[in-house]
């Protein structure tokens, strides 16, 4: 393409191309930077941020919310949650609750299915560590994380309320849902 034209024409083309590109570069040079100097300045998280996982306490009674029902264990796609139930008189508790954060994929399904809003996500990703074992979280650490960071908006009940179809639609198709195997 460039062969048919002379060397002068080619040089001129190259020079103008570079000049035009540099003009746009110059315009961008004067714009405000978009980067955040992260460790020095905190990052702002959106409300629904899906970050670290944590267990919560009941605000009124101070008891832990988790009833050890193991729904999160069953729904977790990479199977990183392990729960053992502790049967008790009034309600059940989680005897052990372990979460392998290094394999977690932050899909929020455990939060979604939790009937008591016990497991939530935090607005933080500050979990960098040099030891893999520190990312194997047990019940105490999960509770501690819940006390340290801000929880994000999503809890099980909120998510299910947002997704729930209006009652009228649900009443119209009970047969279809039975066939669909409503659990």
């Amino acid at each position: 393409m460039a062969k048919s034209r002379g060397i002068l024409q080619e040089t001129w083309d190259v020079a103008t191309s570079v000049f035009r590109a540099m003009r746009i570069s110059g315009r961008n040079f004067l714009r405000k930077p978009v980067t955040v100097h992260y460790p020095d300045k905190p990052r702002t998280y959106p409300d629904r941020y899906r970050g670290l996982l944590a267990l919560t306490y009941d605000r009124e009674t101070g008891e832990e919310n988790c009833i050890g029902c193991r729904l999160c264990e069953f729904v977790c796609p990479p199977a990183v949650i392990k729960v053992e139930m502790l049967k008790s008189e009034k309600r059940n508790y989680a005897k052990t609750f372990s979460l392998e954060l290094y394999a977690c994929e932050f899909c929020e399904l455990c939060v979604q299915v939790c009937p008591t809003d016990a497991i939530v996500m935090m607005k933080s990703f500050d979990m960098a560590t040099t030891d893999r074992r520190e990312l194997l979280l047990d019940k105490d650490r999960l509770h501690a994380i819940g006390e340290t960071f801000d929880a994000s908006w999503a809890t099980g009940n909120r998510l299910r309320d947002m997704q729930a179809p209006p009652k009228k639609v649900a009443a119209e198709k009970p047969a279809a849902e039975k066939a669909g195997g409503e659990a």
Binding site: R27, F74, L109, Q163, G180, A183
Partner: protein, 388 residues
Amino acid sequence: MATDLTPRVTTELDYAGAERLTMNMGPQHPSAHGVFRAILTLEGETVVGVDAVIGYLHRCHEKLAETLAYVQYPSIASKTDYVAAMTSELAYVMAAERIAKIEVPKRAEHLRVLVAELQRVASHCLWLGTWCMDMGGALGGGATIFLYCIRERELVLDLFEKLTGARLLYGFHQVGGVRYDMPEGFAADCRQTIDLIEARLLEYEAMLEDNTFFLMRTKGVGVISRQLAEEVGISGPLLRASGVDFDLRRDAPYSSYQDFQFKVPVETDGDCLARYRVRMVEFRESIRIVRQILDGLPEGPISSRPGVKAVAQVRVPKGETYTRVEGPRGEVGCYLIADGGPKPYRMKWRGASFSNLAVLPFIIPGHSVADVVAIMGSVDPVFGEVDR
């Protein structure tokens, strides 16, 4: 594993030298857009044969889908094509919905199209940036366009973060609708972002279109003829750049694409420049669709089924189907066989990048080594989708 090093497609040249050089490009090549190994056979500087070796990123996605329930898999499906995660999720849930004959509310359908089009903008941003970076310093300073494009892609990812909480792998879709409704102020943010991106597109074009270097690197490079395109079975922007007027969004509307007006760009040259032009128009058409959605988003529920409470909640009756959606890279298909339980019996992906990559051995021979990266970048493969 013994690999056959004889290239399958070769071109004979008048070459004075006596030897052919076999060179590995990849699997860890910075310009290969992923773990892709191309065994190039060179005569001097010219490539005469190329043999593609794939499979370095194989994660048994199709087998994995058999072990995961319909509730769980959508958030994993995003990992097949991680640059355009929303598309594969959509293909999977559409397959389950079609077998089970589940209606999806209008609002959910519109939200699905909204995220699919925003995802197309984000994906094309990444493509433009990395492709121009591959072609290197000739474009007025190497990483310039790359950084500009990533800056704009970040804005779209911020939108997704506001919507779903995640930046890359969303898990936005579920069988029967979507998992997240729009948060407050999202529509305004969305409008602001797409306005900004539309303005910035002009800058990219001003930087690239008249640029002598850019034209030299792309014009007439890697020509895919219409016949070759149809024989190999490529799809998406590549197919449209070769003169075939085919877009699933218009020709086989899924979700709610029939409600929106958009143009399907077609170029007839089939070279890298044509593919660039098709994608630049697609940018704008996606933005146009997003505007139409935001203008007329219907109120109502976002899911026709109650929110997921347990893993076996969604059961799909016996049946099989094939659904296809138009991803940023082409036709993404999902073949699903259900056996009545909470998990599919068998699932098969049709990755757009996988089929598009098959065209490389036909178009690369005859070009120099430097053009290989330009051609490969213009094909825009994502290796998560190639190997699955």
